[in-house]
């Protein structure tokens, strides 16, 4: 990796989700040298795992294809995967970074032919499907994975499977001796785009996510709907594979809650409205949806989308934070609580319950490799003292994709301002 040339005119982007990719591409296409650092084995981040976007009901991988084409063509962009920034020192215009690289055990020779995958036997939970399916010990993270290169799971190193994988590869692409590596980089500006993770639903005890199979999270629901996902795109419930025709969504599952996340995660209302359309289009005749909410935050032009869902007779809105979930004898989750509009108690069984879990910043605020201003919700604040470390996307606030990209585009300019100054061409 000693071939990476970086200087104080280089922009380092941390995180290869939609925000990081956007920042990196905008800067690289303006002629800046950019290094994109991604922790996982492939780019795309959370959006790659989404089935559709609101409000257009279009597919995230479509935009990703465009961004990947941009990345493949661009000579100013260098991508490091399975890489994490562990240390940052210095100041605006002059940063030094330490980046730790995990071994992929597969080098650039890989043609993604898939022979290694056929050769190995061990299976592991597929992270891409949130563990709802299995993948092999040699795998391509997903269909759109870029770099389009396989990964050997570290767990099979030293086993027969590893040897089998190596033997199956005709291109000398598998290198079982790869080791952890730490490299040093220079940068003039750093864009921090590490994004978000779904809030751990196990912590919301009254909802029994850990106890009831038919209580799932909204991110898992996205995977269920994907034709390439664990159920082949069929809307069935986990416990018995029965068609999930009566589905409840619980909003603010972890958000707007001082016991969990204090902030409103912004996206979950729209996500549930979108997912209610999944249910209704999967079962147009008898599919039913109930949305339990505090406030429906279908802000600005999204109101149209909200209206279209309201107009659907198959969808009911209940202003209530569900108190708890119990299970009946048929494995149906039963929601208990009070509809606050006029005080009506309910105890209603559903085939499937989806928790609209919120967005939690991916990086713990105590784990940042450099001292910057982070607010109590864990988001990076725009502060002068942060120097040339700029947040992009949901690292700055709970944002939807459109606003993340907007924010990431702005972040690219902030970084360009710094490196242009370093190069003597800026203001």
């Amino acid at each position: 990796m000693s071939d990476i040339v970086a200087s104080n005119e280089t922009i380092v982007v941390v995180g290869g989700g939609i925000s990081g990719m956007t920042s990196a591409l905008e800067a690289a296409e303006c002629g800046k040298q950019v290094i994109l650092i991604e922790k996982n084995a492939s780019l795309g981040g959370r959006v790659a795992q989404l089935h559709k976007y609101f409000p257009k009901m279009c597919h995230p991988t479509c935009g990703m294809e465009i961004n990947l084409q941009r990345a493949k063509r661009n000579r100013n962009l260098r991508i490091l995967t399975m890489a994490e920034v562990t240390e940052v020192t210095g100041e605006s215009g002059d940063y030094s970074l330490k980046v730790s690289l995990k071994p992929r055990y597969v080098n650039e020779n890989c043609t993604a032919c898939g022979e290694c995958e056929k050769a190995v036997e061990a299976e592991f939970d597929d992270e891409f499907n949130y563990g709802m399916s299995k993948r092999k010990g040699a795998y391509l993270p997903h269909n759109m994975a870029y770099p389009q290169r396989f990964v050997i799971d570290a767990n099979i190193i030293g086993t027969d499977d590893a040897t089998k994988a190596k033997e199956a590869c005709k291109y000398d692409a598998i290198d079982l001796d790869m080791q952890d590596e730490v490299i040093d980089l220079k940068a003039g500006a750093i864009i921090w785009a590490t994004g978000w993770q779904p809030y751990d639903a196990n912590k919301i005890q009254p909802y029994g996510y850990d106890r009831y199979e038919n209580v799932i999270t909204n991110v898992e629901f996205e995977r269920l709907m994907d034709p390439q996902g664990p159920t082949g795109g069929k809307l069935v419930r986990p416990s018995d594979g029965k068609e999930a025709k009566n589905v409840a969504f619980i909003q603010c599952a972890g958000s707007r809650d001082r016991n969990h996340l204090r902030h409103c995660s912004r996206i979950c209302c729209m996500a549930s409205l979108k997912q209610s359309k999944y249910v209704r289009s999967a079962y147009p005749e008898d599919g039913k949806v109930s949305i339990y909410y505090i406030d429906i935050r279908a802000i600005d032009r999204f109101e149209d989308f909200y209206k279209s869902v309201q107009d659907d007779e198959g969808v009911t809105f209940i202003k209530s934070k569900v108190a708890n979930i119990i299970k009946d004898k048929d494995d149906n989750p039963v929601l208990k609580g009070v509809d606050t509009e006029g005080y009506n108690r309910y105890e209603t069984p559903y085939d499937l319950v989806v928790l609209a879990t919120g967005m939690q910043p991916s990086v713990d605020q105590n784990a940042f490799p450099i001292d910057i201003v982070i607010n109590q919700d864990g988001f990076i604040e725009p502060d002068e003292s942060n120097g040339a470390i700029f947040a992009a996307g949901s690292t700055a606030d709970a944002l939807d994709v459109n606003r993340s990209v907007q924010h990431a585009t702005a972040a690219a300019l902030r970084a360009i301002q710094v490196v242009n100054k370093a190069a003597g061409t800026g203001a």
Partner: protein
Amino acid sequence: MADEKKIGAYMCKGCGLGERLDFDNMKMIAEREGKANLVKEHDFLCSAEGVKMIQDDIDNEGVTNVAICACSRRAKTEAFNFEGVAITRGNLREGVIWVRPDTDEARETTQEMAEDYVRMACFESKFTQVPKSSEQQGRIDNVLVVGGGVTGMTAAIEIAKAGYKASIVEKSGALGGHLADAWKDIPSRSPYADPVDTGVADMIAAIEADANITVHLNSTLTKTSGAPGRFAADISTESGSTTTENFGAIVQASGYKDYDANQLPELGYGKTPDVVTQAELEKLAVEANGGPIKRPSDGKEVTSVAFVQCAGQRSDKEGHLPYCSGTCCLTSIKQAMYFKDNNSDVDTTVIYTDLRTPGAPGEDFYRSGQQKGVVFTKGEVSEVAAGSDAHSVKFKDLILNEDTEMQADLVVLATGQVPNSGPDLEMQADDKADAEEAGEEYVQEIPVDSILNLDYRQGPDMPQLVHGFTDSHFICFPYETRRTGIYTAGPVRRPMDSLQAKEDGTGAAMKAIHALEDAAQGRAAHPRSGDLSFPSFRQEGCTQCKRCTVECPFGAINEDEEGYPQFNEARCRRCGTCMGACPVRVISFENYSVDTVGQQIKNVEMPDEFDEKPRILVLACENDAYPALDMAARNGNHYSEFSRVIPVRCLGSVNTIWITDALNSGYDGIVLMGCRKDDDYQCHFVRGSRLAGIRMSKIDDTLEQLNLEPDRVATYEIAITDVDRAPALINEMAETVEKVGMNPFKF
């Protein structure tokens, strides 16, 4: 060497291709039929060694056109990214061996498939040139910012900070826009608890102190022409003087106007001066200057105030705004704090249906409002009745489920934002067409001043998306407008608060710089970022039919006095819609033309009618359908051995001559795969897919003339996730062909 074409065909035997295919035959075909000057094979073409072999040929043998017969063009793109040569790809892996079974019976047809893809790659290569400069490139490091509100000011400041210049054209006599009239702004920093200074004065000072920012007050644009890298704008002052300046790109931050509250008499507006809009309350707060706010009717210090949310918004009623303006909940909380911070005894009640204070800042500010004693009531206000002293707000309390009323000294209506986006061209065109149809004279109902006054063939302003808001329609690409190099930002794009407007202004500034850098080098913008090709046309063949100028989704083509198209390279997004539209086929790109695709179609080997080997042509959008087929191949989905797939930039670039030629030369079925084209269109070139749909509906005539069954041509909307569906549709066509029989027109 420059003009002499030398084709090198390179075949890869890796990934099982060597075991499955007969390469000797394929090499012979490349040489004899494909007329490749050099034909080589390699066991592992994408390896460093294989790549070097090709690079050596480019360097030493003068190869100008590289035809790589290996994997999909989407795979190993970086390895085969040779500079200065034209590259074509024959897809033998994802296109052939992965979609066919490895059996003895299938061997013959699989080989035929592969051989055809070799022919196609060679012929595409033969007709492909390396894109050269159009000589239209220009570089102007100055961005025109239309509008001097918070969005425009931010854009200008950020552009200057990056080392470029900016010029603000502001219609009014001062910078600052709506925010300048506000007493305070919502907080932009944690803990998001209190109203803060608007910062407008600081921004104006920064602009005045910056030599790279020019400000034109009391000015509007009376004409804007050119293209990214060479825009020319006539900036006219109220007094009538006009100067023309050149710009590299444009940020349109024309903002919003306040909704006219006179349309809300039921909410008491106009009936008593004590019913005010949020904007009017800001004025009262400015007058109070931190002291107690006094009500307009009698100057009494306000002791109770009611905020009516969603006034004239989120409503289907005539004259109301159907959308949510997104900012009013935060504004009401801020304004309630004006009262509370001065005197906590003032009663402040916000009547809302959904409190929309999203994100971390929003929820913090809501809590802070509650902490300060602002009362929030979920209710629907039906009427505000003016009283002699206090005014009565009648509402349904949705929690207590009862009709009730409250008294207030002052009532604030949270009315919405109406975008300043100029006339709605599409609606006007529709109205005009309706009027003409009815034989009436078209009268523009409410004349709206144009913002940009573009001298584009397709109208003077940015196309509108919905409710008067402008582009973008794309979620992943919020700035990609239908007018290249012109970026809208702020509330003209969607309702937003100052926090978001500043981000948006900065983002648009980034895109403007991007656009002028692209224009300087002749590179395309999204979605074919970096493409150096551009459309050119043979004037002698042109019939001045204007279809290209009309159909261009990006308004890239003007007409000269004689009605010939004038291409503006930097406005062009390289979709090829013009090429698809041209009935006389005089428009082409160096690396994409009627020939590059037409020759591939023609040179597929056409078996005899009685061979029972039909041929199905698949034209697939390169961004969605083609990747879907690639992924299908990776998943081991098989599809018909009789199909031949050609990626196209957009279905809009498909010229009907390809279809006619294909049918005439014996193809038995044709499948067109494009993107979704309704209101939620997913076509990356906005309406390419729709135009293709219209054109293909006329193909039936051709089929009729040829006495062929209409089922032989099918157009589908394919999403990138249609990994199983896309191959299934190809197979469906194979079944259709089996049913209706072979095309008799085989040579």
